[in-house]
Point group: C2
Chain length 157, copies 2
């Protein structure tokens, strides 16, 4: 498996995959083209035999010079348990450190138990919000009305 930086034209490959990989959930609108155009140095694609099997889209916060943010990570369900996600995250952590930053943030929905378990396993801490959902602290209405979110943070120094 090879990991390389994202380029603009990868949008045409990845965007159609997303709704498939998420089992039909309409997720591709969360990832418009701009993320593929403007955040190449902090976004990565994993390929196996020339086929995209995973990707991570992240960027450096422009509000907080210590922080980097992971916006979206996807792995082909047929390639789970192959440490693809782990390698993509580690690639991101490395570019964050090369940019002299040491805090990585990510956000997920409380319903996404797989994501919560995965980030916890990867060493992320769940930030304390204003209520609990199924034992997990969340920020209510974070991403709009009834759009509660779980906020993750990890030190990478």
């Amino acid at each position: 498996m090879q990991i390389r930086n994202v380029k603009s034209s990868d949008y045409n490959i990845i965007s159609p995959l997303i709704n498939d990989w998420w089992g039909g959930r309409q997720m591709s609108e969360m990832l418009p083209k701009l993320f593929f155009v403007h955040f190449n140095h902090t976004s990565f694609i994993a390929e196996k035999d020339g086929e995209v099997v995973g990707f991570l889209i992240g960027f450096l916060s422009q509000s907080d010079s210590d922080v980097a943010y992971i916006h979206f990570v996807g792995v082909n369900p047929e390639y789970r348990k192959n440490q693809i996600g782990k390698q993509l995250y580690n690639e991101f952590f490395n570019v964050v450190k090369r940019n002299n930053r040491n805090i990585v943030r990510a956000v997920t929905s409380p319903v996404n138990k797989v994501s919560i378990a995965y980030h916890t396993k990867m060493g992320f801490t769940i930030e304390t919000g204003d209520k609990e959902v199924d034992g997990v602290s969340v920020f209510s209405n974070y991403d709009g009305v009834n759009q509660d979110r779980v906020l993750f943070v990890k030190k990478v120094d």
Copy 2:
């Protein structure tokens, strides 16, 4: 009227306004919370008597160190013709120049004739795409299948 930088909590004020200002078009999903959290220094709000009357969300490209990108601009329809948009764009051009960048890019849909006319008036050039729609050059399928886009560019040095 006052112009100030966006802060995270402005999301709660602006997100509900967007669909209203766009006449019911479902636009707020294009502007998730992350833009209000991570791009404060290049995003601006116009206020009149404490009320938000306009905003501009932009960021510095992290792929091209000459480029800045305007993602989303909104003005309360009741306050059009008050040069609010112009002041927001100029504020953005100024912060771009302070960051030693001289190219500003923006993208719109071919149906958005008001946006095309506005960007042209503001000195943006339309980039040559691969087809024409109503006499305007567009990039076909730029933001997904059947999602043609008009690409603008402006030098600000």
